[in-house]
């Protein structure tokens, strides 16, 4: 185990570097634009607004409930799927760095995780404003969304290590993951509520993303703590981390040859 864990901690202590790189990545995306990083918030607001307008009118659910359900669902989905798809390229995109400098591989994972957290923070502003407009009544249960978010982060972390190492060698994985995520989007309850599926609702429980969404969304939107989803999410965290550390331990040192 030693090499993999050393790599993770040696990367972690370089935080002044990877936080700087993450911010630079985002600034690069919005360079020379007048409102800069506010575009993240602005574009998410437009996206959510249109979705609520279109899907709210065809949904049988209560309007306010549906608006909160859909927007928080999208927020988390964007975060989760962004981490999964970017995770595949986390080392491939860092090729010049990996071949030109001696830097722990985990630095690039931390950089990517930070970039997605910044994006998430900017988009969350939209949700805060929306809940305020809806005069949404939050209960103390809503605080459960915070440990839920931490579990998402914990999972994003191992997913990036795992997919990053494997897809640097097997590039088909990148495309498999991308197409997989597009399919999974539709069997994740975001654009609809589970009970609208009737007898087919049980299908959703086989999709892990349903549960990752539930542990953050349910406490805020429904005021409940989904205990079954928590079990699934914790199981994935433990299993995934074991898998990721084994992957890093056995193949991490091959990544410079593969990228």
């Amino acid at each position: 185990m030693i090499w993999a864990l050393k790599n993770l901690s040696a990367g972690a202590v370089r935080w002044p570097l990877w936080t700087r790189l993450a911010v630079a990545d985002i600034q690069q995306t919005y360079r020379r634009s007048f409102i800069g990083m506010a575009w993240i918030t602005f574009s998410f607001a437009m996206f959510i607004g249109v979705k609520i307008l279109i899907f709210g009118s065809i949904s049988a659910a209560d309007n306010d409930l549906f608006a909160a359900w859909l927007s928080i669902g999208f927020l988390i989905w964007a975060y989760v799927s962004g981490n999964v798809t970017d995770g595949c390229n986390v080392f491939i995109n860092a090729r010049p760095w990996i071949l030109g400098t001696k830097m722990p591989l985990s630095v690039f994972v931390y950089q990517s995780l930070t970039r997605h957290l910044i994006n998430l923070a900017y988009s969350t502003l939209v949700i805060i404003v929306l809940l305020w407009i809806l005069k949404w009544q939050l209960t103390s249960i809503a605080l459960w969304a915070i440990p839920g978010m931490l579990v998402l982060l914990l999972n994003a972390w191992w997913v990036q290590i795992f997919l990053g190492v494997l897809s640097s060698r097997h590039r088909d994985l990148i495309h498999l993951v991308q197409s997989g995520m597009r399919v999974l989007f539709f069997i994740t309850p975001i654009l609809y509520m589970p009970d609208q599926l009737g007898g087919n609702a049980f299908l959703l429980t086989y999709n892990p993303f349903t549960h990752f969404l539930a542990i953050v969304r349910d406490p805020i939107v429904l005021g409940t703590i989904p205990s079954a989803s928590w079990l699934v999410a914790l199981g994935f965290s433990v299993g995934g981390w074991i898998l990721a550390i084994l992957t890093l331990q056995f193949w991490g040192r091959r990544v410079p040859f593969w990228v």
């Binding site: 700087r20 830097m103 040859f257």
Partner: protein, 247 residues
């Protein structure tokens, strides 16, 4: 005299390139190792030149010494802070200011923010870019950007310095300064390894030589001896090639 780099029987093979479905139809021949049974030592004060034709394994060996590639079998032990001056531009961001880029380059090389703040005045003075240092990098000419990179990279005091080809930067005025600077850090370093095709540069700065031929050591020892063997052998091969082409 202490041992800085100790390489024992280093062997390294690149993985087979992924060619997609085509690879199912082609015969799979075993990959030739890029480094094969490479053994050498670098002691304090050694100035080692790596010579060899294109694709003979010079850069691969440098990357292995720098710890980027791990040998398949054998071992490389390194004692001391290595600074590898290859891929100099890694870490540059065109939209950040020159100053922020200097900071970033230093942090990539493993310096802390505080250390870099201490080094900053020296870097700025040497690069001669104080007037434009807060402008974004994309407004710099290529030569100016190279000067900034060069000034930063050579400000970091290496114990063991690795160079993949001798580097130079800038216009006539800067080039002379750069030459002196590089000479100074070469002579200040405890150990120096240079991979190059330029025999004049090699003879001027190196005391020892190592000829890599298809990943194997073909000759090693005093720089003049190694260069002589290398030049003699490669000229002989060139003549043979010529004869074969004519036939």
């Amino acid at each position: 005299m202490s041992l800085l780099v100790d390489a024992k029987n280093v062997r390294l093979t690149y993985p087979r390139p992924q060619m997609g479905l085509r690879s199912l139809l082609k015969k799979r021949e075993p990959m030739v190792p890029a480094l094969d049974d490479v053994t050498f030592q670098l002691h304090t004060g050694d100035r080692l030149a790596l010579v060899g034709l294109n694709g003979s394994g010079k850069s691969t060996l440098l990357r292995t010494i720098a710890g980027i590639y791990e040998p398949e079998t054998g071992s490389i032990d390194v004692a001391g802070k290595i600074v590898a001056l290859f891929n100099l531009g890694v870490g540059m961001r065109l939209d950040m200011s020159g100053r922020a880029n200097v900071m970033l380059l230093g942090m990539v090389a493993g310096c802390s923010q505080l250390e870099m703040q201490d080094l900053m005045p020296g870097i700025l003075a040497f690069s001669g870019l104080e007037d434009v240092i807060d402008d974004p990098l994309h407004t710099y000419s290529q030569g100016m950007a190279m000067r900034l990179i060069f000034a930063t990279a050579t400000e970091l005091n290496p114990e063991i310095l690795l160079l993949d080809e001798w580097i130079g930067a800038g216009d006539r005025l800067f080039r002379e300064k750069a030459e002196k600077r590089l000479e100074a850090i070469v002579s200040d370093s405890h150990g120096f390894i240079l991979a190059s095709h330029n025999t004049i540069i090699i003879q001027r700065y190196c005391t020892k030589g190592l000829w890599l031929d298809d990943g194997k050591i073909a000759a090693a020892g005093d720089i003049d001896e190694v260069l002589e063997i290398f030049v003699r052998e490669t000229s002989r091969r060139a003549k043979e090639d010529e004869a074969r082409l004519r036939a």
